[in-house]
Amino acid sequence: MPLLKKPVRLSLWQRRGTKAVIHIMAIGYLAWLFLAGLSDKLGPDPVEVLINETGTWAIHFLLLTLSLSPMAKNLPSAEPMQFRRLIGVYTFVYALAHLLTYIAFELQFDMALVASEIISRPYIVVGMTALLLLFILTATSFKTLQRKMGRNWQRLHNTIYIILPLALLHFSWSQKTFWQEPVWYWLLGLLIMSPRIKKWANKVRANRSGSA
């Protein structure tokens, strides 16, 4: 039974307003973090707070991006899809801020150290891979490019499904023990991905019975 007679639609101005609010909150929080850090108002070690906050919020945005399409399928409205690209781009912005904080404030531009740490520490290699993939997705997120690339665009952007486990692995691996915050994020990620995983499993099963 349909919940509503007509799907819910936002007017142009409601949509623009929602986007403006997302922009203000995402940029605002990032700016506040840096300003508070500069004036030593981020606790005993501002660098640690800044690295943690940019990293965990990049993952929050990533999880939100991935939950919009299941949300749109289950709500009597396709509107959540209107905000997916915007939130996806902020995933990259926060992840980039995370890396820059690490280079500028944690390692403090000791470039020899930066190079050796990025190359030789497996959890940083994993995080860098996720960031590079996010960069490619962000660089190809323009509407015109999407049209030009056709089906390849969707194929390329499916790498978001690889970025999620890479980002979570980087998070888990950066902790001193396993039983910490990242455990909750793995569970949430699994929950958000469960409809897709079910679909993929069905596809594999159908292919197998088809070829038999």
Binding site: L38, L42, G43, P44, T56, E181, W184
Partner: protein
Amino acid sequence: MAKPFKPSVHLKDNDVTDESVYVNRRTLLKSLGFVGASTLLAKSAGAAGWFWEDDVDAPKSELKPQLKPLKFTQPSQFQINETRTPEDKVTTYNNFYEFGTGKDDPAKNATEFQTNSWTLKVDGLVKKPFVLDYESLTSRFPLEERIYRLRCVEAWSMVVPWIGFELAALIKQAEPLMSAKYVAFETLYDPEQMPGQRSRFVGGGIEYPYVEGLRLDEAMHPLTLMSVGLYGKTLPAQNGAPIRLVVPWKYGFKSIKSIVRIRLTDKQPPTTWNRLASNEYGFYANVNPQVAHPRWSQASERRITTGGLLARNRIDTQMFNGYQEVAPLYSGMDLSRYY
């Protein structure tokens, strides 16, 4: 004639909601919601306290055990000329997983930690085992202030004015037997008071009680301190009240907090972080810029003092954290193997 009323739903006695649950239904629902949401928001709350925090979390000052001023001397050789880490940073940036894995968790979760019925037992391979009660922790041995560098295995460091006495004095009083080769330390195990010991989600899933160990000659070294205070007063709970170890030439995790037992042994005792990940944390854990942690370099460190993000506080890490006088303890040892 009217039909007799027949209820469509039959409820028995055991279907009735327990009165206490009914009375507290709103509180129950609320706490369920808060538990779910707070696990994800916990980290953000730390950084953006102004945004999430409400009055419920305000420090309950009347429950806070009062820190007592201590009497101590200030031997000049330990008054080093380095900028001290401010007291509020020393007491709000702690690794003490018994009270949570976040750096700010111990200061928040240890406010009601009770230590006044404390006992510290010294036993094992000794002639005269003994027990120190709470009062004698600060009165049995003359106290002195020592300003030590503290180097964490996570590559940050502080400068802390500890107050305490040499571990050697304590051990001598017990008269160790010839067979004693090592000293084993144990933190309090009290899940009622230490939430990290109740839940692996709070305590990071390490094995409790926390245990540490030293070789007897390391324990007897004059730099090795039993600390009962910092910045002139007794230790705050989050810094390891009422008594903790401080071994300034080793990574911070060796300096075990809130000790209830010191035992002399003839075998190398197990140590908590070594048991958890022996490839990352050795028994010795001497500060050594040449031996990297498998996941990060130990060649330099960030010194936490004052100044915000722009403070250029990354400095080179020194061998034995600059305490070269301990080098003879390890002559002939391959320190990249015995890390």
